[in-house]
């Protein structure tokens, strides 16, 4: 019950901290396929924002697509 423990440690951070933690929990609940697609979308956004280079994008994309293969998820 790691997540619940995490929440128990949170009171000092207030509601926004709890909100963020819940957000993370929801993400962990997503299926592999949805989660990887979501991360691909976020990766694309980071490229658009100029936070990562084309090379970094391609490297991470390759990694995510291979995770999708490993998970046996059809693209």
């Amino acid at each position: 019950m790691l997540l619940i423990d995490d929440i128990l440690m949170l009171p000092a951070k207030g509601l926004i901290g709890i909100f963020k933690k819940i957000h993370e929990m929801v993400e962990q609940e997503l299926s592999d396929k949805t989660n990887i697609q979501k991360r691909l979308t976020e990766l694309q956004l980071r490229l658009e924002l100029g936070e990562i280079s084309e090379e970094e994008y391609e490297r991470e994309e390759k990694e995510l697509l291979s995770q999708m293969d490993d998970a046996g998820v059809a693209r």
Binding site: I4, I7, L8, L10, P11, A12, G14, L15, I16, I18, F19, K21, I22, H23, T34, Q37, L40, T41, E42, Q44, L45, E48, L49, Y57, E58, E61, K62, L65, A74, R75
Partner: protein, 271 residues
Amino acid sequence: MGREGKYIYCIIGTEVEKNFGPVGIGERGAEVITLCHRDIGMVISNHPLIKLVVNRENTLAHERVVEEVMKEFTVLPVRFCTIASDIDEIKNLLAKRYGEFKDLLRKMDHKIELSVKGLWKDMGIIYDEIRKENLEIKRWEDKIQKDTGKGNIQEKISVGMLVEEALERKKGKEAEKIIEAMWKITACYKLNTTIGNEMFINAAFLVDRGREREFDNRMDELSEEYKERIKFLYAGPFPPYNFANIIIYPEEWGMASHPLCNRQPMDQKVY
């Protein structure tokens, strides 16, 4: 090497068969040509009948062709990785869906798509506003900060959900302001799913080519007006991916004998 097929990029209104050059998807640099039925044509190139990986390299190769064709024609983009077995399949499909394609070509005539994403620059400010706008959240936060015990997990979770709901409402309200500023100069718009907590709008606008400059200027004004608060990602012109993305299912070809990969829709357009 799989059996040879015809990779489809888009549909255009033309009765003249045309060659767009050796810019086709794949490593071979296949010639991109049109194949016509009456006064509409599909823009295609030779490609093996295999499933393509949905990565940036491949989707960009597809989009580059559609964007090249768009310089000269109104286009109806066809979804990435749609491959027909042969010319007859394409001609049959054009004949079967002729009315629909003609109608869409008329609607998309002289139109372009412009993409606008808006992200809050400082989430600290946004969460402060949420506290001020939602007294219930503020009260709970004060209570939780005093509570150092381990109780009331359910309560804390449901209050965390309240924050999430408040953030979604705030996104909607802020998105409305942007739409309000733009809708008079657009033919149509579509709101797509936002990415992450910072993004409050992810919109595609269908705009008449003649009004692109006006749209640009309006975006400049908005960027200036909200420069402290919002970072805009403004891009285009694109083919009308959000308004006329043509999907062709294998059964429509009349011969379901090839391994078409577009049976599985992409949940969202990543690129």
